[in-house]
Symmetry: C2
């Protein structure tokens, strides 16, 4: 009898795990996987949708804003994204101290492209809405670009971004 119970239990476990799988990846209506705002840059972070939204949050919560420009079919963006998402240190600091926004299309604000429009590039914005053009990566031609090996530079730049330009906030 114990065997019967065990086999019934096994069948039930198998059935329930089979039934659950499609639910995890399939939206309720339709066949496409819903697009996420994180786009792989950190699923557990709370991402702003637009620059306007990000500026609002940055001011309201007195946190600096990190804006990432990237493209899905750019290998440099993809390599940086992987290292970025897998760095617990970066993810933890962003979650605690930053407002985050990732964009695949440029905004109309020219202050977000001080040395041109390219990907990947990362800019910081002060809660006073000042773009921190002084916080740059290690490359002289595209000064807001980072490679996957530049996570250390990015981390120290994040620390710099946390020291606000205008302390009267």
């Amino acid at each position: 009898m114990i065997k019967v119970v065990l086999s019934m239990l096994l069948v039930l476990v198998a059935v329930s795990s089979t039934m659950v799988k499609p639910e995890k990846n399939t939206p309720r209506r339709g066949k496409r996987v819903p697009q996420t705002l994180s786009r792989g840059w950190g699923d557990q972070l709370v991402w702003a949708q637009t620059y306007e939204e990000a500026l609002f949050w940055s001011r309201a919560r007195r946190k600096p804003l990190m804006v990432i420009f990237h493209l899905e079919d750019c290998p440099h963006s993809a390599a940086l994204k992987k290292t970025f998402a897998e760095s617990n240190e970066i993810q933890k600091i962003l979650d605690d101290d930053f407002i985050v926004l990732n964009l695949m299309y440029e905004t109309t604000d020219i202050n977000l492209s001080p040395d041109g429009k390219y990907v990947p590039r990362i800019l910081f914005v002060d809660p006073s809405m000042t773009v921190r053009a002084d916080i740059v990566g290690p490359y002289s031609n595209r000064i807001y670009a980072y490679e996957k090996s530049d996570i250390g530079t990015l981390l120290s730049n994040m620390e710099q971004a946390k020291k606000f330009v205008k302390s009267e906030l």
Copy 2:
């Protein structure tokens, strides 16, 4: 004995459904559910992230753009969203013929608030980047507002939006 088996099965069902719940909602890293761009307005649609992106797609694909302004804690937005997402007719037409964007924060473009900023409101934009201020809902005070009972009006407005203002496109 049958009683024993049944109760064991019941316990297992209860345990497995408890165990399964977190898996469905937990992203690979971290504990939060990844934010989606659809926000419940239609998971199978391809949503633009920003107004700039939406305008780019609208021009490139020669499709009119629908912009929905809403708030998560607004009961009128929630009621409209439910009917909107459950209307196969609306979802099908949007998927085939429109670029879609839903926003919880206002843009800096004043053309998207011809009679003020309120939610829910729906505006259409031509592929020529002209905001179709002529396509209005049934209310005289907030002319771009729709209630959940106004799906018929919305559908006929969508048909109107598909007739471009500038045919030289």
